[in-house]
């Protein structure tokens, strides 16, 4: 058990490092020289050379990578050539803001989808199921940018109750950002809920048809108890991974939505950095996202362990 956790952690670290290598390599392929980018069209060749030197661009990539990863491990992602500031200065506020959306989305989406999924599974093939399935199908089929645009039209312009865009900067206090979190959260939750609901529904149906649930039902216990104590832990097992995948998806999915709402999050920073060729920022974002992905999967595994005593107590299985 402890051994398992250790091995799991080690492999997680390895994955992050490996994706860092991939990102670093890919980013080296981006066209357009950062130095010229920063200095502009009129830069003299000497100035460009000087800046390249200052940015360490003349050293071999492998050396730069090692330096960089060593720094990254300490939370130091180097200097952004575009703003001239440490990458961490821009990164953390944006990350914080995205976490704000992400956490509220996860809370809303996971609760909603588990409840709806269970309802749909329990009322299988009856009207609540049909309704929920139809809604989730629509949720899955409308791209998030459309959802976001429609929400703005509806809740900001037609009935102005919520802000259409965020005017604040990345460093604004959380309290100021809160009203602006609502619409992105709804837009993202709809999409995310749709996927999780379907998974939960299927797995609830599977589990409810299983022998142990039937046995429990035949003990004469109440439906709520049946679902919560007997069915849910097993039904949530396959759902956990879907949730983890979706959380990882959030990091990317959020880019489009943040763009629509002018929300100063990691997604917007990512788009901006791609355009500006702000490679250190891009690398930092990629590594952070990889970390989030790995952590999500780790959390899913731990969650699975909590739900499944077979994993928790180790061994004992009789094939």
């Amino acid at each position: 058990m402890l051994l398992y956790t250790c091995r799991r952690l080690l492999s997680a670290v390895l994955t992050v490092v490996l994706s860092a290598v991939l990102v670093f390599a890919a980013v080296q392929l981006l066209p357009g020289d950062v130095a010229t980018q920063v200095l502009g069209q009129d830069a003299t060749p000497e100035a460009v050379a000087a800046l390249r030197d200052q940015m360490d661009l003349n050293r071999p990539a492998a050396v730069r990578f090692l330096d960089w990863i060593a720094g990254a491990a300490r939370g130091d992602f180097g200097l952004s050539p575009v703003s001239g500031e440490p990458v961490a200065h821009t990164l953390w506020p944006h990350l914080r803001n995205t976490v704000l959306i992400a956490v509220s989305t996860i809370v809303v989406a996971v609760t909603a989808s588990v409840v709806l999924g269970v309802l749909a599974g329990l009322y299988r093939d009856r009207w609540p199921d049909a309704l929920i399935s139809t809604l989730t199908l629509i949720g899955m089929s409308v791209p998030e940018f459309v959802m976001a645009t429609l929400l703005v039209l509806l809740l900001s312009i037609t009935v102005p109750v919520l802000p259409a865009v965020v005017l604040d900067e990345a460093t604004a206090p959380v309290a100021d950002l809160l009203p602006a979190v609502v619409l992105p959260t709804i837009a993202l939750s709809v999409v995310m809920t749709a996927y999780i609901v379907r998974m939960t529904r299927t797995s609830i149906i599977d589990v409810m048809a299983g022998e142990f649930v039937t046995t429990a039902r035949l003990k004469g216990i109440s439906t709520v108890r049946l679902v919560v104590r007997h069915a849910l832990p097993s039904a949530l097992l396959p759902t956990l991974n879907v949730i983890a995948m979706n959380v990882a998806w959030l990091v990317g999915g959020v880019a489009v939505v943040e763009n629509v709402f002018n929300y100063p999050g990691i997604g917007q920073l990512m788009l901006e950095s791609v355009h500006n060729r702000d490679l250190p920022v891009l690398q930092a974002i990629a590594v952070i996202s990889a970390l989030v992905y790995v952590l999500c999967n780790l959390a899913a595994d731990l969650g699975a362990m909590a739900l499944n005593p077979r994993l928790r107590t180790g061994g004992g299985s009789k094939r």
Partner: protein, 592 residues
Amino acid sequence: MNTEHTGPLVRVENLSVAYTSEGADVPVVRGVSFQVRAGRTLAVVGESGSGKSTVAAALLAHLRHGSRVTSGRVELAGQDLFGLDPVAVRRLRAHDVALVGQNAGHSLTPSMRVGAQIEEALLPQRLPRHERRAQVLDLAEKVDLPAPVSLLRRYPHQLSGGQQQRVAIAMALAARPRLLVLDEPTTALDVLTQARILDLVADLSSELGLTSILVSHDLGVVSRMADEVLVMREGAVVEQGSAQQVLTAPEHPYTRLLLASVPRLEDRGLIEVDQDGIRAVRTRTPVPEDAPEVVSLQNVTIDHGPTRAVDGVTLGLRRGEVLALVGESGSGKSTLAWSLAGLHAPSSGHMRLQGRTEGDLDATARRRPLDVRRRVQLVFQNADTSLNPRRAVREAIRRPLRFFGGLSRREADGRVHTLLSDVALDPALSGRLPGQLSGGQRQRVGIARALAGEPEVVVADEVTTALDVSVQASVLGLLEQLREERDLAFVFISHDLAVVRGIADRVAVLRHGRVVEEGPVEAVFSGPNHPYTRSLIDAVLDPSDAHGPEPARTHLSPELPSDTGDDPVWLDLGAGHRIRRRGSGPETTEAT
């Protein structure tokens, strides 16, 4: 519930159940009627799919998703179960009827401690917590769970199959039901555990005065437990009556066929059953004295990572001989079979294929020469998974023909037809997919596929376990016939000793990966025996035995003769019959 009810406790009248498929009703149970008086045990028997479980569940007012009652009623103490509202149904299940399912491993919630699951069944009685706990402990002791306090805190997967089944029984008893429904409560267990569980159920029933309905396809179990028997076929009742009468003087031909097909310990050969259910024992042709050895195993040890599955086994197999490997679950039978087939290399010892050309069997299949691979073939237990569901019968058999024999497609197709007739299948079936065949037919295809390579040795791992008795009898007959015609050597793995007695020439008993006894089938079954072998033989239930708490033993074994040999490990009784001495291995007895 109305307690002053008189008359039979259970009354099922003209019950029909159907499920809807493609818009049409498919009947599962057709017009079943029966009654059970309080305190009695009714057994429902019949082949797989005959609707036994459906009837059993109906007694708890439960139907599978998609099915419904098309006619008739089910009454418990005068109350129509399918007329109850959901609250009353819950009360019924909480107080009056309880079910013990077939596979306790699947019927316990994996994420809850077993104690909590038993306790849950007590909830409707609204006892204070400490009293509930005390009762749970009480129940655990009643079902003979060892060290109940710590055991109740475990999760289902941390218990053995027998312990799981005991928990399930405790759970069913917790509600103090008037009716106990047991749906194949021992099918998934090995013989030894089965015997212990049946004893327990019988004791508890008489102690608590329970009425029970026992579903089983094992007539031995039925004869052991039931007062009355109900025989079902394709959803309808074909015969019903007292256990004594149905099991000893069956009226309906189907019941007779069913009974006759059950292999018995005292049969000295395979049985043949005709249309009317008259059984005849086929005389075995003995293996010639000078039959050459085809396979020899020397001190074979096989590990699965840290677990040692087979531990220093030495065995020999002669041409035309059937060597049976028996032993309880996990004793290493399959592991040995897989190594012989080249799927898992042994960690030490030698396995050799003898005959015209010799070959080492220590290597895995891909390293063996083609000829050696061809001469050893495997037949699988589960006919469901042993055939590729997307390839027709013809393709399944043609592949080894072309692979080993290098035949052209045309030639191979011709051979496929011969092989199908050899295993008594209509060659017209060659275009079918496995899903369109019955279990017995599929098993025959599996055998035909193994024969395609023209093997000398066939390793058959529990090939009849999953089949109904009548089908099992016919498949066994086929194996016997093939052995005679082709002079094949068989390694026959089974945990059913009655089957082994019928088909095998020699028996090797495995325990914890070691051979504890080995010898000619007659010698082993008549004793004297290793105590472990003895317990296996004693646990076999016979349908013709009279019903009673203690099964009658017609052949009590003589005690082990006193130690005369000079081999410190083996006690040699002559004629190849040898028994491992006590104390020379880990002889701990397992709690179930």
